[in-house]
Amino acid sequence: MRRAICIGLVVLLTAAARAAPDDLGELLHLLGTRRHGHADFVEQHFLALLSRPVESSGELLYDAPDRLEKHTLEPRPESLMLVGDVLSIRRGGGHRRVLDLKSHPQILPFVESIRATLAGDREALERTFRVEYAGDLERWTLLLVPRESQVAASVAQVRIDGSRENLRHVEIRLRDGDRSLMTLRDHPGP
């Protein structure tokens, strides 16, 4: 047992040594220089309830500093738009629903993890999560653990990895073991 702790400590220390806070700063600065982003995504949900994962796909758009749009095209059209603290959702041709993030903090980890990372907004990230950085600029991983207990009740962690200013995967793990995995690819064309 003690041995395990020792090893854990060593691993942590070396991780800390490899990725000093300055490296996180460097990554976020790099991300922050990007004004626009346009990517295709495929998102898979792995749920205990389901016998096989369900998949959706569409496009993700980002405009600095705080506008994030997620347009799902398959299997059901849906669009999600986050501007400031206001999240609006439109499913199919239905009514637009408008939610305020402050009154719905449980949504926060799902959207703020991606947006704050894209914006390179360290303050916003650290307001919602404890942030751990690993790897280097070419191949980095951010591990985000929600701070607020209300949020942490359902979301265990968000893991984002990428290369330089490009995000590759966003994985959200829930406390009950269910998870979602979003894979991003730069949108072809203009």
Partner: protein, 800 residues
């Protein structure tokens, strides 16, 4: 003191004491009821109850402006917390999800009774397959991770359906956890008072509480929060402001006009004693007038108190006539006996003419007008009686006032050029003036009368616009357009509301309306709930259908055991009653849309405009949708046009009644003067004065209202006194100057009183003032020329 004098004074004091007793014990009301019908149709009754007690009448809109958004949000939350503890309010909403957990729990527990999609078909194998496939697609969506915990209990998605049903109506935008306007510049809150809108005192208290909460919360926070300003709007705010405005105007004007009239009388009489005595008829008249209203109607309206006194301004004239005309210029002493013989019959006839005029207001369906009529009749009779019987007994032996005959002579000289004209020329001139006036009125015939109730409203246009803006921000129905379903019990009106909802729903897609509220959205009728419950299959049947449905789907059937339990529980569970809503925010929503009147229930379905910037709804389309197939018993109640229609019917009634009053005056004069020619010469100047005033008001772009009409009645009432004096025999033998002087003083006091009203800033009082002040002046002028000319022109011997 003679026995007769003692008897008269004792009788008078007894009457005054009795009247004072009645006045002291009377009930006083200050709500809108003076403007609402006494014997309404059911629809009018509903309109009145809506305006007085309906949910719309108690909604206060609160806007926080300036300062920064976070600061406003903090103040909004703190204010709401404080106000929610206050019993003055039944609802405080600022966008915070206060009761959200309880609401969600309630909706989830009763989802099989509340969801519109619960049918037998949906619970067949095929129906379940479709619904569950939809749910799985939902799980793939962005919200999937948040929705998944519902699925084992609710694989068919009834909870989401209910949330959809509830969010059909646009909600305000939230920012920082609280509601804000679309541009984010205002933080918004809605308060609903516990007291009905007609209880202006309680509303004033509620507004006071809101202001106190704001002062406390904005003062407690950081200094920069002092920049935040609060504005209030909504019917309670308007009612309180209107009352304050009318009260302020009534008090200020009463003081100002009393002071001016007292000054005038002091200058004329040069005797404080005469002044004091002269005010006795007015005071007695006012007291008697209120007592008469209290006895007749049971309650006295604030409006009656507010300007009833101006209507009996004529009673000041009585004492003016008494003092000035009793004075014998040569002897500088007073002879009440000769006044009683020569002048009292004229005053009495004038008073009766006025009473005929005011009596025409009594049958009005507009309680405000009927009360003014009763007040004036009681007041004028009492004032005349005091002048005739009491004043002479109160005069001390050496009583004397200044001789005013010289003023009269000077005025007579001014009128001389007109009086020198021949009879034919004079009447020709009068006819010409009348012709021009009629022509002007004819030109403005289409826009002559103002048919909107709001023409009497003391609420400024900018206040109304601000209110509309806040309502737009809040997505609040303006409550001006309502669909109403009435019935003998709650169940029947809820069923009616459901039928009406089905008729209205297509209009949302057609963009005729933006949405509507319905009590049945919170609490479906028992019939509907029962049908939904009956459509749920037995456990064994459902288990089999579910097994068939999930075969081939990505869902694990064994995970759905809670679904079987919940459906089973719903099958044997009780239906929802209004009591079950208690403790949720649904109770307030439901309560606001159900209006109970004794044995009659009403479901209210307020319509929302399709777009905030185009608030008018195509009501013809709504009517067509409701009545097209005869499947609904719903009626469209357009509050604005209904209340305008109500007002128009009052206006027509008032015009009819005024004409009847005029006919009564004509009959009275004809009968008393025993000569059509004399009656005509008395009436001609009055009618000419009314025509001129109406023509000038119209030409100046003023649309006439009920209050202008009352003003015209007053011109006839006051003017008939003038004309009768000029008509009277004996006028020609040297007393002409005295008559003219006394009438001009009486006239001056009337013009002062009503002239001041036209500067009050309160539309109803202004209308009255600007009609009577010039009208009375013209009536005197025309009577001095036309009536007295006829009297002078006739040889003295002709009338014996």
């Amino acid at each position: 003191m003679s026995a007769r004098r003692a008897g008269v004074i004792a009788a008078w004091l007894t009457c005054v004491a009795l009247a004072a007793l009645v006045v002291a014990r009377a009930r006083y009301v200050t709500d809108l009821s003076a403007f609402l019908p006494a014997t309404p149709t059911p629809m009018q009754r509903l309109l009145v109850d809506q305006l007085r007690e309906g949910p719309a009448s108690r909604v206060i809109l609160i806007a926080l402006e300036d300062g920064d958004a976070d600061m406003r949000a903090r103040i909004s939350v703190a204010m709401a917390r404080r106000l929610r503890l206050d019993r003055e309010f039944i609802r405080i909403e600022n966008g915070e999800p206060v009761t959200a957990d309880r609401d969600r729990e309630f909706l989830f527990q009763h989802r099989y009774l509340l969801s519109e999609t619960v049918t037998a078909r949906r619970f067949s194998a095929a129906g379940l397959k479709g619904a569950i496939a939809d749910t799985i697609a939902g799980l793939a969506s962005s919200e999937g991770l948040m929705l998944k915990s519902l699925v084992p209990h609710d694989p068919t998605g009834e909870m989401l359906q209910i949330i959809d049903q509830m969010s059909r109506v646009a909600r305000p935008v939230s920012q920082g956890g609280v509601w804000v306007s679309a541009d984010g510049g205002r933080t918004l809150m809605v308060a609903q008072s516990a007291a009905p809108g007609s209880d202006t005192d309680a509303q004033e208290l509620a507004l006071e509480e809101i202001r106190r909460a704001f002062a406390a919360e904005s003062g407690a926070a950081a200094p920069q929060s002092r920049q935040v300003r609060m504005s209030l709007s909504g019917p309670p705010v308007f009612a309180v402001a209107a009352r304050a405005k009318i009260q302020r105007a009534a008090v200020r004007l009463s003081i100002a006009s009393s002071a001016l009239i007292v000054a005038l009388l002091l200058v004329v009489y040069r005797s404080p004693l005469a002044l004091t005595l002269g005010l006795l008829p007015v005071a007695t008249g006012a007291l008697t007038g209120i007592a008469a209203v209290a006895l007749w109607f049971g309650a006295v309206h604030g409006l009656t108190l507010g300007f009833g006194i101006t209507l009996i301004g004529e009673s000041v004239d009585y004492s003016i006539y008494f003092f000035t005309q009793s004075a014998d210029g040569a002897l500088r002493s007073i002879s009440p006996r000769s006044w009683r013989q020569r002048r009292w019959p004229i005053v009495r006839l004038g008073m009766l003419a006025s009473v005929c005029g005011f009596a025409s207001l009594l049958p009005s369906g507009f309680p405000g007008l009927a009360q003014l009529g009763a007040y004036s009749i009681g007041g004028l009779i009492a004032a005349a009686a005091v002048t005739r019987f009491v004043l002479p007994e109160l005069l001390p032996g050496d009583f004397a006032i200044r001789d005013i005959t010289p003023w009269g002579s000077r005025l007579e000289r001014l009128l001389l050029p007109l009086r020198r004209l021949s009879q034919a020329a004079l009447w020709g001139l009068a006819l010409a003036i009348a012709g021009v006036a009629v022509l002007l009125l004819y030109q403005h015939r289409d826009a002559l009368w103002n048919r909107e109730l709001s023409s009497l409203s003391p609420i400024s246009l900018s206040d109304q616009r601000y209110d509309a803006k806040l309502r737009g921000d809040l997505g609040q129905a303006s409550a001006l357009d309502l669909v109403v379903v009435s019935g003998p019990d709650l169940e029947s009106v809820l069923r009616g509301a459901e039928r009406a909802s089905r008729a209205l729903e297509p209009l949302i897609d057609e963009k005729v309306i933006g949405g509507f509220d319905s009590p049945a959205a919170y609490l479906p009728s028992l019939a509907t709930q029962g049908a939904r419950r009956a459509s749920l299959p037995a456990r064994s049947v459902l288990r089999d259908s579910l097994a068939q449905a999930t075969a081939g789907l990505a869902i694990r059937g064994e995970q759905l055991a809670p679904f079987l339990d919940d459906v089973d529980a719903a099958r044997s569970g009780a239906l929802i009653t209004p009591e079950d809503l208690r403790g949720t925010s649904l109770a307030a929503g439901f309560g606001a849309l159900i209006l109970r009147q004794q044995d009659r229930w009403n479901a209210l379905l307020p319509l929302h405009a399709a777009r905030a910037d185009a608030p008018d709804i195509d009501l013809a389309r709504v009517k067509q949708a409701l009545g097209g197939d005869g499947s609904t018993d719903a009626q469209l109640l357009d509050l604005k046009s209904e209340s305008d229609a109500l007002y128009t019917s009052y206006l027509h009634e008032a015009i009819r009644l005024s004409l009847a009053g005029l006919a009564a005056i004509v009959a009275l004069l004809w009968f008393t003067l025993r000569s059509p020619a004399r009656a005509a010469s008395v009436l001609a100047p009055l009618i000419l004065a009314v025509l001129c005033v109406a023509a000038v008001l119209s030409a100046c772009g003023r649309q006439l209202t009920i209050l202008h009409l009352v003003g015209m009645l007053l011109i006839v009432a006051v003017g008939s006194n003038y004309a009768l004096f000029f008509d009277a025999p004996g006028h020609e033998d040297g007393n002409g100057a005295l008559t003219l002087a006394s009438l001009s003083i009486a006239n001056l006091s009337t013009v002062i009183g009503f002239g001041l009203l036209s500067f009050s800033g309160v539309p109803v009082l202004e209308d009255l003032g600007m009609t009577v002040a010039p009208g009375a002046l013209l009536a005197l002028l025309f009577a001095a020329v036309l009536t007295s000319r006829r009297a002078v022109g006739e040889p003295p011997g002709a009338r014996q």
